[in-house]
Amino acid sequence: MFEPSNLLLAVPALPLLGALLCVAFGSVKELRKWAHVPAVLCAALSCAAALTVVSNIGEADVHFPQDRTGEPISWFSVATATTKLSADFGLEADQLSGIMLIGITFIGTWIVVFSIGYMHGSPGYPRFFAAVSLFLASMTLLVLADNFLLMFAGWEGVGLCSYLLVGYWHDKPSAAAAARKAFLVTRLGDVGLLLGSFLLWQMAGRNSFNYQFIFEKAAEMVNAHPYLFPAACLLVFSGAVGKSAQFPLYVWLPDAMEGPTPVSALIHAATMVTAGVYLLARCAALFTLCPAVQATVAVIGAFTAILAAYIALTQNDLKRVLAYSTVSQLGFMFLALGCAGPVVPSFAVTAAVFHLFTHAFFKAVLFLSAGSVMHAMHDEIDMRLFSGLRKKLPVTHLAFLCGAAALAGLPLLSGFWSKDMILESALEAGESKRFGTLYYLLFGVAITTAAMTAFYTFRAYFRTFWGPLKMPEGAHPHETWVMNIPLLVLAIGALAVGIVAEPFTHWFSHFLGHAKTLVQADAGRVAEHHLNWPLMIGSGAVALLGIGVAWAMYAGNSQSADNLAKNLKTPYYASLNKLYVDEIYNVLIVQPFLMIAGFCKLCEAIVYDLVRLVAMVPRFLADLIRPLQNGLVQFYALSMAMGLAAIVGYLVLVAK
């Protein structure tokens, strides 16, 4: 029963059970306020199961069902003599999934705990926990699935939960709009992912969606389909772009902040948005075969990183700053993924996944702190309305500071190490023959972004917690233990997880480097683990520079920020208005789409009655001969006689 393979099944099954229990609790009036209990319990148990599973990942991966030789448990399958389209219910935990699992279940559990306090008394309390549990189930399914279709099921499941949770306050129009936007924009990428998976399936001989099966045929596929294969990779990548909020599909993520803050922390910072990173890491064996695609990935990642960072510079909404920073950090991860190939894949991918891992911690703690602030400020999150809260919310302040420092990449904190690995990959990729210059350029972009990151993070920090005390009306700041404990736990994680896991022990990269997919992608190359001191010093300096500027501008009550904004009007407003991307999309995509739809409607109005033209033909003919029906008996008789005379007369007198 407690064999690893069964526990593997328990990892997604327990949260699913939790979700069902939450629904059951919700349907009983007395139990409604206890609806968090099953969610928390199941999340915790799932976490425990996940840890057990990960500890068992050694030489051999953990599978469900355990016996690989027999027929897989089929969700649905159609097979012919030579081909097979089958969605198998097969779970597999390797090192990559293991890392993901820990992040998801551990952080998820603490966020669920935090939610108990945060969501207290809100309408639809059971609904929230049911959705969160369902999310955990889907997300773990996503990372554990051993084939594309099952992964896609989890992929869509998290999308659904995101939709439900962003639209949690469904009577708020902005939340409703944000939910729809989040679902639709990611869905656009998902379609690409589905198509890409199918193309891979087709190229691999139409037999299986299994990762391993497809990866093993990757080399053959590239040779056989020199154009289709990169296209398939790009399609898969488009799925990742949608889910992980990369340019051009990132626009949903800032809007998704309409959801409850724990949701933002869990789904839109720590876990779901990293699914794209996970996917690309998983498919590293495919992507490393297409350098052009890899370069695209890197460019998109870097561009997203700097774009989002630029927008984040001036946002006044605390959660939005964090949202854009999430986008930006995800861009970093994609940049690292895009370096795999020129760099030893296991190194670059490890960089990305490591950043993913640390980012999950510090971004979660940042969001939760922001949530705590919001909770205290009577659901106000506009930084212009409050300041100087460090006295009122000491635990929150502390946690936020930890998270912000880690995010900014202060040396020795977790963000520093992971960001450093990414920069190093980019730098190293610059030495490659193809696209070398490009990667150097991207490195420059990344360094700039790092500086901006430090600046905007601490801008938010200083504006919120420093300066004179200012609070919106009706706010009565308080902190409860149920919210504080998760904050502190995650804050410790944000500080320590980096230095513990990687820089001196290389435990993380060794562990991850053994993942089959990465071994295959490495193709025999070995990653060198060393500390690049100049780079480390440089990036530390850049981070400190950013923080310093922020301190100078916002810590005191100086007018320098306002002066700067007045002097640099164009860049300031561009950033404040998010570079007008929403407006541009509206003009470039939404409006043309609506115009096409309107055109279709117009066509429809025509087509709808077009068939009546056909009906008019007999009516017209009838109008021609209707006068013959004049009601005179003799006329009818005459017509008959004339007809008879004409026919017989023709036959007898005329016809030869």
Binding site: Q634, L638, M642, A645, V648, G649, L651, L653
Partner: protein, 405 residues
């Protein structure tokens, strides 16, 4: 030839009996006369219609005398026929042209009476009597009553105008022309006779190759030659004549008469003639073919004229009741004999077995026997129909409302 093709062959047979003067004269003049005389708001001079009517009647007589290919000797029967027929047609024309419905009814009575005369000539005395009693006696009188009941006083729209006179008259007379031409085609045997005589003539002629075929120039001897137009016409007329003969094919049981043999022989001969080109050596074969055609057509024509010879008493088509003699051992030679030789007259001969002592009583007896044996169901149905009609008439006409206005 399949049975369904027969009428089309007949209708398409225009090699002779095309629309000719004997048909055109009565039809055109009759159409003019009727159109002239039909009631119309415009007054038309009466004499125009009268002249056209007289021409039409004369034309009709001409058609009957000349157009049907039968000579009409001046017998009493013929005089009576022309009298009755003329009266019937004349009064029919008057009936439809007279504006006064009462007079129309009287004219119709005259038509009925004339028809009865024709019935008598056709050896149907009972029908004559019945028609006079029922039609002239009962129906027309009822009509007169109705006419009086609807007290027609003065001119009315209904009587002084005609609906579509031109179209109706045209239609009617086109139909009449069709019928008359059809009659000619079916009953006029002159074309067959001409084919027979021509083929006999050809068979006897020594100049067959110069008249029947193209005249060859010197030095062309031995080369094949084509048919002359005249020869082609002969072949096609022979075909038409044969087709006409085949229309009257006897019942399958009478094949002993040699009908099929003759038909096939003629067909082969015609096919032989059509098979051009010819050589000099074919001349005798051509003569043989024409002889075969002549002999076959003669034979077929005789069978046709004599009706279908079978045993028993028959009313022969030309007014004689004759007893047909048995074909004997040699049916072919029997059929080659003229009809008179194949039967013996029995008219007015007392024959106790057949109960035909006197013509009128014999007619009624025979009619009664047929009615109550072969047509019993129909008689009953007719009786029921009469009853139902009586009830219907009472129901329709009976319920008079108090005041219609």
């Amino acid at each position: 030839m399949r049975p369904s093709e027969a009428p089309l062959i007949l209708l398409a047979d225009t090699t002779d009996n095309a629309l000719n003067w004997t048909v055109l004269t009565p039809v055109v003049a009759g159409a003019l006369a009727i159109w002239y005389l039909l009631p119309s708001p415009q007054k038309r001079p009466l004499f125009g219609g009268a002249i056209a009517g007289v021409v039409a009647l004369a034309g009709l007589a001409g058609f009957l005398l000349q157009g049907l290919g039968q000579t009409v000797p001046a017998t009493v029967e013929a005089i009576l026929f022309f009298g009755f027929a003329g009266t019937a047609v004349l009064f029919a024309a008057l009936m439809i042209t007279n504006p006064n419905p009462g007079r129309s009814a009287l004219c119709f009575a005259m038509v009925v009476l004339s028809t009865c005369g024709l019935f008598l000539l056709l050896a149907a005395p009972f029908l004559m009597a019945a028609t006079i009693i029922i039609y002239a006696g009962a129906i027309i009188v009822t009509f007169l009553f109705v006419i009086m009941l609807s007290h027609q006083n003065g001119p009315s729209n209904a009587d002084l105008r005609s609906r579509e006179p031109v179209l109706a008259v045209g239609t009617g007379f086109v139909l009449l022309a069709t019928l008359l031409v059809g009659l000619q085609r079916v009953y006029d045997n002159r074309s067959v006779e001409s084919v027979i005589s021509e083929s006999i003539q050809l068979a006897a002629s020594e100049k067959v190759d110069s008249e029947y075929l193209t005249v060859r120039k010197d030095g062309d001897m031995g080369k094949p030659v084509e048919l002359t137009p005249r020869a082609k016409s002969f072949v096609s007329r022979s075909k038409a004549a044969l087709a006409r003969m085949k229309l009257a094919a006897p019942e399958p049981g009478d094949k002993a008469l040699g009908w099929d043999i003759r038909v096939r022989a003629a067909e082969n001969a015609i096919a032989d003639l059509e098979r051009t080109p010819f050589k000099d050596s074919d001349m005798d074969a051509i003569r043989d073919d024409t002889m075969t055609i002549a002999a076959s057509l003669t034979y077929l024509k005789r069978i046709r004229e004599g009706g279908i010879p079978h045993e028993g008493v028959t009313l022969s088509p030309y007014g004689q009741v004759r007893q047909i003699t048995k074909p004997g051992d040699n049916p072919e030679s029997f059929a080659e004999q003229p009809p008179e030789a194949r039967s013996t007259p029995v008219l007015l001969e007392p024959d106790p077995d057949l109960k035909m002592k006197k013509m009128p009583s014999a007619n009624i007896a025979a009619l009664g026997r047929v009615l109550f044996t072969d047509h019993l169901l129909a008689v009953e149905l007719a009786g029921t129909l009469l009853l139902v009609a009586t009830v219907g008439a009472i129901v329709i006409a009976g319920g008079r409302r108090e005041h219609p206005r």
